[in-house]
């Protein structure tokens, strides 16, 4: 290694900003966090199937109707594409385009908010029919969807947090976008989990 290379490798900006070499610790941390969260959701959905198989008989039990499909499908159509703007935003900030970051984050935020709004209307309807205390199906339904809704909400706070940081300026750029990528990973995870929930809660009762 020549002295020149040494100086380049140890100069301050080489130490304080992120070069695109290898995965960062933040990436690994977020991936591991997502892994443990995914396990949690797997356990939740597993509990759903366990109770369903153990119950035998009609499902949903206690005269609750089959879940209606239209709104969940609309919610899916809102939530799954919401990953695209954040991918686009991340690509943008990787090239230093701050406007793309802001626009993409805002779009994701709006889509996520729409999703939560739709979920609220769904709850408002279903709560007349059954509640979390009606029976185990009610508990499962609301806890699973509610827990996912909580994750969407947390994701939204993350996105809005990114958005406000990026609006401040001086936060993200081509050499620092770790946080954007980590939030994007989390958001994709929330999307994928919704797909699993759609299958478990809304579709699987129709496949018995």
């Amino acid at each position: 290694m020549s002295a020149h290379d040494l100086a380049a490798a140890t100069s301050t900006e080489a130490l304080t900003t992120e070069l695109p070499a290898g995965r960062s610790t933040g990436w690994w941390g977020m991936v591991m966090f997502v892994a443990t969260e995914a396990t949690l959701f797997a356990c939740l959905l597993g509990s759903y199937f366990y109770l369903r198989f153990q119950h035998g008989g009609e499902w949903p039990p206690g005269g609750i109707e089959q879940p209606r499909l239209l709104r969940p499908l609309v919610m899916t159509a809102v939530l799954l594409p919401s990953s695209l703007p954040i991918v686009w935003a991340e690509r943008g900030i990787r090239r230093g385009e701050r406007r793309r970051l802001r626009v993409g984050l805002a779009a994701t935020f709006l889509l996520g908010l729409t999703f939560l709004g739709l979920q609220a209307t769904e709850y408002a309807e279903l709560l007349h029919e059954f509640t979390v205390t009606t029976n185990a199906y009610g508990s499962l339904f609301y806890v699973i969807t509610g827990f996912h809704g909580l994750h969407v909400f947390i994701g939204l706070t993350m996105v809005s947090w990114l958005l406000s940081a990026s609006l401040r300026g001086g936060s993200f750029g081509a050499r620092r976008h770790d946080r954007v990528r980590n939030v994007a990973i989390y958001w994709h995870f929330v999307d994928v989990v919704w797909a699993a929930i759609l299958f478990t809660i809304y579709l699987s009762p129709r496949l018995w």
Partner: protein, 295 residues
């Protein structure tokens, strides 16, 4: 029941007969294409060169197992009980799929194509989107997701019964199983240049095993029949439990063995590349270090 041997066409239904012919043609095409590609390769590079003989044998074995699972004693077993049917599925997913994957069929099959098609394939493969898809992590996630989805969806009662009733659906079901399994095992057993890094492969296999085990466990622990009685054998609950266990145990064993083998081979390779063992400096240690209590 659709079966590939012409003998089973004695079922009489036209649909079944047509399907049989169609399937036979498809499998024959697959085998012929692979054979031709391998022949081409060996002709250029010498026998046993790019695709070793054991890979060819594996592919052949895979095709044979695929045929065997859908006809003969296994098919009759499958007709009798849910557990028999599960045996059939597990044969397809745990034997046929991995064998086909070990055949490293990508290169031979594309070689067998006509030149124009081959060019188009090459263009698709080098497109940015496919290149992104073929990144190890993406492939792994995709393969795991596909396998899980295939397994869960087809074993839910409604699709399962549909497959029992309609030969077409049944064929689709089995094709899904073989394809999903092929996709899953290809990054583990396939050609070296497409293989996943061993730690990723271990994570992928273990992560795919868990939902599959969960389904097996759910079937094993269920106290009542979940499927319509006509789908189950004479002792419905016992049949269902046995089927659940058949899904659960072989899957776990196969994955465990594969995982540990991959891991062990990788560690041994690392050991060979970067040896690690040394002994303590017993004699002639530097004076500054000789103050230790143990000498």
């Amino acid at each position: 029941m659709p079966a590939v041997t012409p003998a089973a066409a004695a079922d009489g239904s036209v649909e079944a007969g047509l399907l049989t012919i169609l399937l036979a043609v498809a499998v024959a095409l697959l085998a012929a294409g692979y054979g031709r590609g391998v022949h081409e390769l060996w002709a250029r590079r010498g026998a046993g060169e790019v695709v070793p003989v054991w890979r060819v044998a594996a592919f052949g074995g895979g095709v044979v197992v695929m045929l065997a699972a859908d006809s003969g004693p296994l098919a009759t077993l499958a007709r009798g009980s849910f557990a028999g049917h599960m045996t059939q599925h597990m044969t397809l997913m745990l034997v046929a799929g991995p064998l086909l994957a070990a055949g490293a069929a990508g290169l031979p099959l594309s070689l067998a194509c006509p030149a124009s098609l081959r060019r188009r394939l090459a263009r698709v493969r080098s497109a940015p989107a496919t290149r992104r898809l073929r990144r190890p992590a993406t492939t792994a996630l995709l393969a795991g997701a596909v396998q899980t989805l295939v397994l869960w969806v087809w074993h839910l009662p409604a699709p399962y019964v549909a497959a029992l009733d309609r030969p077409v659906v049944h064929v689709v079901e089995h094709v899904c199983f073989v394809a999903g399994s092929w996709l899953l095992w290809a990054p583990v057993l396939g050609a070296a240049r497409h293989r996943l890094p061993p730690p990723v492969a271990v994570l992928l296999l273990a992560g795919t095993m868990l939902p599959a085990s969960a389904l097996g466990a759910a079937l094993t622990f269920a106290p009542q029949p979940i499927y319509p009685l006509r789908a189950l054998g004479s002792d419905p609950v016992a049949d269902q439990q046995l089927a659940g266990l058949l899904m659960w145990a072989p899957m776990d064993v196969a994955v465990l063995v594969a995982t540990l083998t991959v891991f062990l081979r990788w560690l041994l390779r690392l050991q060979r590349q970067q040896p690690g063992e040394v002994g303590p400096p017993e004699a002639g240690r530097p004076a500054a270090r000789a103050e230790g209590v143990l000498r």
